[in-house]
Amino acid sequence: MDGSIASRLRDTTGSISKKKTSVYQRNWLLYLMVAPAVILTLIFAYTPMYGVVIAFQNYEPWKGITGSSWIGLDNFRSLWAFKDVKQVIWNTFLISGMKIVAELVAPFIFALLLNEVRHMAFKRWVQTLVYLPHFLSWVILGGILVDLLSPSGGLVNRILGQFGVSPIFFLGDGNWFRFTVVVSNVWKEFGFATIIYLAALAGINPSLYEAAEVDGASRLQQTFYVTVPSLLPLMMVLGTLSLGNILNAGFDQIFNLYSSLVYSKGDIIDTYVYRMGLVNGQFSFGVAFGLFKSVISTVFIVISYRLAYRYGNYRIF
C-alpha cells in the first residue's frame, strides 16, 4: 500500500520511475485533459492550414479541393500582374510601421509622466479612463469616429472651424485616412500599452534613485540616467515583437473606417484578401495572397522572437 502511493507520488511529481510505461499508466488522465484543446485545434486551426493548397489550384467551390485542377504557381505569378497588389503591400507596411512607432513612443512617454504623479487617487482615475477605449470594439469606435470626424458638422471639424480651419475629410481623403488610422489607434491603445511599462517602473530598484540623488541629480537627470535606461530593454523587446506583426496592420480598424473613397491609400493585405477572395469570390487569388502574407509573417515572427530572446531574454513560455 505504502509502496504504491510512494511510487505514484514519484511519478506525478517528477522523479524517474522504475518502469517506463508506468508514467503513462499513472498520468493517462493528463492526456485526456489536454484532448479537447488538441481536437479543437486540429479541426479549427490545422484543417484550414491544409486548405491553403487552394492557392496552387484553380479552385472551383462546387468541385472542392479534391476536384479542382492544379495550376502550380500561376496564382502567385498573377499576383504581381495586379497593380493593386504592390500598392496594398506598400500600404500595409506604411500603416503598420507608423503604428508601431507611435505605439512604442506614446505609452513610454505616458508612463514616464504618470510615474511622476504622487496623488494615488488621481493616478487611478487617469488609468481607469485611458484603459477604457481598449475594451470597446472597432465597430463601436468606428461608429463614434465616423460621426465625430464627419466633414459636415462632426464635432472635430466644428472645433477646428473655430480656429478657422476649413473642414477636413479625415476618413474620405487618402492621406488623412492613414493619419487618422494611426492617431485613432494610439487613442485606443496607448493607455493599455502603458500597463507593462508601469509594471517595469515599479520594479526599478529605489536605491538607484537614492544614489543619484546623493550625487546631486535633479529629477530630470534621474529620469534620463536611471528611469529611461531601465525601461529601454523592455522597449526593445516590445519593439522587436511588434516587428513580427508588421503585416498585420489592423483588419478590424481599417475595415470599420474605410470606404471605396480611400481604397487606394487605405487597403491593407487583410482587407484586400477579404474583398477579392470572399466578396468577389476569387478564392484561389485570395488564398494565394493570404498564404504569401502568412509565410512572410511567420518568418518575421520567428525572427522577432529570436531577437527578443537573444537581446531581451524574452520567452513565450
Partner: protein, 292 residues
C-alpha cells in the same frame, strides 16, 4: 527632496493638467455620442450638440428597443457569450493543467506546446476557414461563432504560468489523499488561480461580445446576426433601411441619434464589466507577460 523644488512643482502642476486633459480626451467621444443619442432631431441635424443633450428625449432608444432585429441580435450575442465563455474557459482550464507539468510527468510536453504555439505563428487564413465552416455545415449555427476561437492559446499559456505558481506540496498532499489529476486540478489549482481565471473569463466575455467579423461571414441571415455584427452593418455601412420603415419615423428622428443610441447600448455591457475587470487585469497581464 527633489519634489520640493520650485521647478519640480511647476512641472507637477503642468503634468497633472496634461494627464487630466489626456484622460478626458479618451472618453469625450463616448460622451458626445451619448449626448447625441439623447438629443432632439433639430439640435442634432443643426450640429448643435456637443457634450450635453439638447431637447432631451428618449425617442432614439424607444425606436431601437422596439426594433425586433436589434433585440434578436442582443439575444444571439448573449447566447454566444454564455456558450463561448463556458466552452472556451473549460477547454483551457483543463488543457493548461497538463501543460504546466514537468516533462517527465507529462511526456511530450514540448511537442504539445509547439502544437499549440504554431497556431499563433501560422494560420490558413479566412478563406480556408470559411470553406471549413461550410463543409462542417456550421453555417448559421451559433457553434460557428463559438468553436473556432474556443482554444485561445494565449490565454492557455497565461493560465499555465499561474498553475506553475501553485506550491508543489499542495498537489502532493492531494495526490496522497487519493485524488486523481482532474480532482486535484479542480479542488486545488482552480481555487488558487481564481484571480487569473476571473481575468481570463472577463476577457473572453468581452471578446465574444465585441466579435463581429465571424458573424458577418458565418451567418447569412441578417436577422440572426450577433449584436456587434448587426451594429457593424447598420452603423458602419450607414444602412438605415432595415431600421426605419416609415417616412414618419424619418421625420421624428435623425439617423444619427439612432446610431448613437445603438452604439451606446452595445457598449453598455462592456462599461458594466470593465470596472470589475480592471481590478484584476493589471496583475494578470503583468504576471503573464513578465517572467523571471
Amino acid at each position: 527632496m527633489y519634489y520640493k523644488s520650485k521647478s519640480y512643482r511647476i512641472f507637477a502642476i503642468c503634468n497633472t493638467l496634461l494627464l487630466a486633459i489626456l484622460s478626458i480626451m479618451c472618453i469625450l467621444p463616448m460622451i458626445h455620442v451619448l449626448a447625441v443619442s439623447f438629443s432632439g432631431k433639430a439640435a442634432v441635424s443643426g450640429n448643435l450638440v456637443n457634450l450635453w443633450p439638447i431637447d432631451f428625449n428618449l425617442d432614439a432608444y424607444r425606436k431601437t428597443v422596439a426594433n425586433p432585429a436589434f433585440i434578436n441580435s442582443i439575444l444571439v450575442s448573449v447566447e454566444r457569450v454564455v456558450l463561448g465563455t463556458t466552452v472556451g474557459m473549460l477547454v483551457i482550464l483543463v488543457g493548461a493543467y497538463p501543460l504546466s507539468k514537468e516533462r517527465n510527468v507529462f511526456r511530450f510536453r514540448s511537442i504539445f506546446m509547439w502544437f499549440f504555439v504554431f497556431t499563433m505563428l501560422f494560420n490558413g487564413g479566412i478563406i480556408p476557414s470559411y470553406i471549413l465552416i461550410t463543409k462542417l455545415h456550421l453555417m448559421n449555427s451559433i457553434w460557428a461563432l463559438v468553436l473556432p476561437g474556443a482554444v485561445s492559446v494565449f490565454n492557455m499559456i497565461m493560465l499555465m504560468n499561474f498553475y506553475r505558481n501553485v506550491p508543489k506540496e499542495l498537489e502532493e498532499a492531494s495526490l496522497i489523499d487519493g485524488a486523481n489529476h482532474l480532482q486535484t486540478m479542480w479542488n486545488v489549482y482552480l481555487p488558487i488561480s481564481m484571480p487569473a481565471i476571473a481575468t481570463l473569463s472577463l476577457f473572453t466575455i468581452v471578446g465574444h461580445w465585441n466579435s463581429w467579423f465571424d458573424g458577418l461571414i458565418y451567418v447569412t441571415k441578417p436577422s440572426n446576426y450577433p449584436l456587434a455584427t448587426y451594429l457593424q452593418t447598420i452603423v458602419v455601412e450607414k444602412d438605415l433601411s432595415k431600421l426605419i420603415q416609415s417616412a414618419n419615423d424619418m421625420e421624428k428622428l435623425t439617423q444619427r441619434s439612432i446610431k448613437a443610441a445603438q452604439i451606446f447600448i452595445a457598449a453598455v455591457p462592456v462599461l458594466i464589466v470593465y470596472p470589475f475587470l480592471q481590478r484584476h487585469f493589471v496583475k494578470g497581464i503583468v504576471l503573464g507577460a513578465v517572467k523571471e
